[in-house]
């Protein structure tokens, strides 16, 4: 079993503090969902874990099995087992999807032990079939000209090919129609199991109809303010967030405006 532990995490962007002490522990074989209104720092948490260059961690710790993640470069974090399915994946012209994914797989392997081309193609074909993706998307340039839905599917394709220990899904459901959402959820559910933990960030309870979380957390004003089981998500869907604000005495005075 592996564990991702986030303790008292404070994160700023351009000197504005967004996260004000986040605590979270995720084990493999668990799916956690983070919900919350816009601009509460959910995406900031995802970006800070992965090491986005614009986000500065001012205090707190992130560890995987005791290893200090914050001291690692972005690629080292990935090799330590982290994966972030991004809300806005970059487009990279001239680099085919297949070449990119193969480079990512080989980056985790020793020189001389690269995945064979045949084995790679077999696995890629299988994963693309599973995600109902057109085979020609393997040879298209990475995310270039992909629709919003294609980009999200492509993030899940990478997830399935790379097989990380912990996946963070940053609003993987936004902009997806219901059929695409089902496919994306199918991919994530396929990954669930002993060696895999997941943190799904979402605005909408809808995603959680297809990916049943073990734990649900609510973020507001840069902190996790409430945690519970799947029933918490259902109550949020039915009643919104006001009852939590009331219960905890939170006022919308310094609402964070960021949600990149």
């Amino acid at each position: 079993m592996s564990t991702l532990v986030i303790k008292d995490l404070h994160v700023s962007i351009e000197d504005k503090e967004i996260l004000k002490g986040v605590n979270l522990t995720i084990n493999t074989n668990e799916v956690h969902a983070i919900m919350g209104p816009n601009g509460t720092g959910k995406s900031t948490l995802a970006s800070a874990i992965m090491g986005h260059p614009k986000y500065e961690v001012t205090s707190g710790t992130i560890e995987i099995d005791g290893e200090n993640v914050l001291e690692m470069e972005v690629d080292e974090r990935a090799k330590a087992g982290l994966f972030l399915a991004m809300q806005y994946p970059s487009e990279i012209s001239g680099v085919t999807n297949a070449d990119f994914i193969r480079s990512a797989i080989n980056a985790r392997r020793e020189e001389g032990d690269e995945i064979s081309l045949m084995k790679f193609i077999r696995e890629l074909d299988k994963a693309m079939d599973f995600l109902e993706m057109d085979q020609d998307m393997a040879q298209r340039y990475l995310n270039e000209g992909f629709s919003g839905g294609e980009k999200k599917r492509n993030e899940i394709l990478q997830l399935m090919m790379i097989k990380p220990t912990f996946a963070i899904l940053d609003e993987i459901d936004s902009g997806l129609d219901i059929d695409a959402l089902k496919v994306v959820a199918k991919g994530i559910n396929e990954m669930r199991g002993e060696g895999f933990g997941c943190l799904a960030i979402t605005h909408y309870q809808r995603l959680l109809n297809y990916i049943t979380p073990d734990h649900v957390h609510v973020m507001m004003q840069g902190r996790v303010v409430k945690s519970g089981g799947p029933e918490l998500a259902q109550r949020l869907e039915a009643e919104g967030y006001d009852w939590i604000k009331k219960e905890l005495g939170i006022e919308d005075t310094d609402a964070v405006t960021e949600e990149a």
Partner: protein, 435 residues
């Protein structure tokens, strides 16, 4: 203003060079007139690059003697790598100034295709060469360097594809430079007659580290009505050359011209790639990629000039600049009066890898007609940190991520080169340069 310059060869020397090659009198005269013009004509003025201090004139010797290759086994590794030794049926190799190897398939010969070194062509296909040699695309008296070239031509290739002949396999040419004192005044003349199609791919490769010579290269493509010409080139000339390379297309009715140019010289270089869309319905695709490094100074002008109605021109230029390299990219779409319904599009992008490099992308649209379409995009910037973050977030190291982005950026030409081995060579050259 006339500028008198002391040239490296006298008129008498030019005459005697012509004689020693048994050239027909029209060509001997063309050389003699050209050397006189070269003395008087002004230098070209590449936009935004001051070349007044550059040496385009002096060189150690006009021609050097090199040993031809009896078989392809004798080729240096650098050349072997760019040739499919078994599969390539149509191949010309020039070693410095010496025609060193030629083969052409029986099939093409039977169809009347001419593929030979320029000296042989001048002697044996005199009428055809005379008709097109610096008469339509490039003129002798444009400036000092065109005239100097005409006077001193000492190598090159002639290709003629007769009417209705489609050449399936690319014609491959390698200009090998393995003598530091060699100067290259190569003239390439490709004539595609009506309804014909041909793919021509050339590589300039230096195996010397440092050259003392001149590279004054003029390459003309004449595509007659409804012909299709694909022209691929990879230039990897050594430091020390002063390179003036002029590749020009003269495209007639409904004809199509595709350029895929990988300009990887280590020399200071002035490159000009102009396509005249003469005929109605003609098309040009001019794609260029460049890597500048060291203290190199380069100027790349790509122009598509529309004369015919419904003509379409697309320019793509991508350049990577590192170290203290200085590069100017001029992209010009010019639509002449009368060229209605024409479309001039261009995209110029420069990727800067170093603080000290200089890159300048100048998109220019000159339009003399109302009923046309035109557009341009230009950018100069660094490797996008968000792209690097994305790639690295999948476990790819920073240096590998940069490598992927750079190769991707230069892919538009690499993927368009029609010979696999040349494509691989260009990838390798890029790899070596951006490392």
């Amino acid at each position: 203003m006339t500028v008198e310059t002391k040239l490296a060869l006298s008129a008498t020397e030019v005459r005697s060079f012509s004689q020693s090659n048994n050239e027909p009198s029209w060509f001997a005269n063309l050389r003699a007139e050209a050397i006189e013009k070269a003395a008087e004509l002004p230098m070209p003025k590449p936009d935004k690059t001051n070349i007044s201090g550059w040496n385009f004139i002096e060189f150690p010797q006009h021609t050097v003697e090199s040993t031809p290759f009896n078989s392809l086994d004798e080729l240096p590794t650098e050349v072997k790598e760019i040739i499919d030794i078994e599969g390539q049926e149509n191949l010309y190799i020039q070693r410095n100034n010496t025609p060193a190897f030629i083969k052409i398939s029986e099939e093409l010969k039977a169809q009347g295709v001419i593929f030979t070194d320029i000296q042989t062509a001048i002697r044996e296909h005199s009428d055809l060469v005379q008709k097109y040699f610096m008469t339509e695309a490039v003129k002798v008296d444009e400036h000092k360097l065109t005239a100097y070239h005409a006077a001193l031509v000492n190598g090159g290739v002639f290709v003629y594809v007769p009417k209705n002949v489609v050449v399936e396999q690319p014609l491959q040419v390698v200009f090998l430079n393995d003598n530091a004192d060699a100067s290259l005044f190569n003239h390439v003349l490709v004539v595609a007659d009506s309804n014909s199609a041909v793919t021509y791919v050339e590589t300039y490769v230096s195996t010397v580290e440092q050259s003392n010579g001149q590279a004054n290269l003029i390459e003309e493509v004449i595509a007659l009505d409804n012909a299709q010409v694909t022209f691929g080139a990879v230039d990897v000339l050594a430091k020390g050359f002063t390179t003036y390379v002029n590749r020009r297309g003269h495209i007639k009715r409904d004809a199509k011209m595709d350029w895929a140019l990988g300009l990887m010289n280590d020399s200071d270089t002035i490159s000009e790639n102009i396509t005249h869309l003469i005929g109605d319905g003609s098309t040009a695709n001019a794609k260029t990629v460049v890597v500048g490094r060291g203290e190199q100074k380069q100027n790349f002008t790509t122009e598509v000039r529309h004369w015919g109605k419904n003509s379409e021109g697309f320019i793509l230029k991508h350049g990577v600049m590192k170290d203290a390299a200085q590069t100017i990219f001029n992209g010009i779409g010019k639509i002449e009066h009368g060229a209605t319904k024409s479309n001039a599009e261009q995209e110029s992008r420069v990727l800067m890898l170093s603080e000290n490099a200089r890159g300048d992308a100048n998109p220019i649209l000159l339009i003399d007609e109302d009923d046309v379409m035109a557009g341009h995009a230009a950018s100069v910037g660094r490797v996008d940190p968000i792209q690097l973050y994305y790639l690295m977030s999948r476990g790819i190291s920073k240096s590998e991520a940069e490598r992927l982005v750079i190769h991707g950026f230069l892919a538009p030409v690499v993927t368009n080169l029609p010979i696999e081995s040349v494509k691989n060579q260009l990838t390798k050259v890029i790899e070596g340069k951006v490392r």
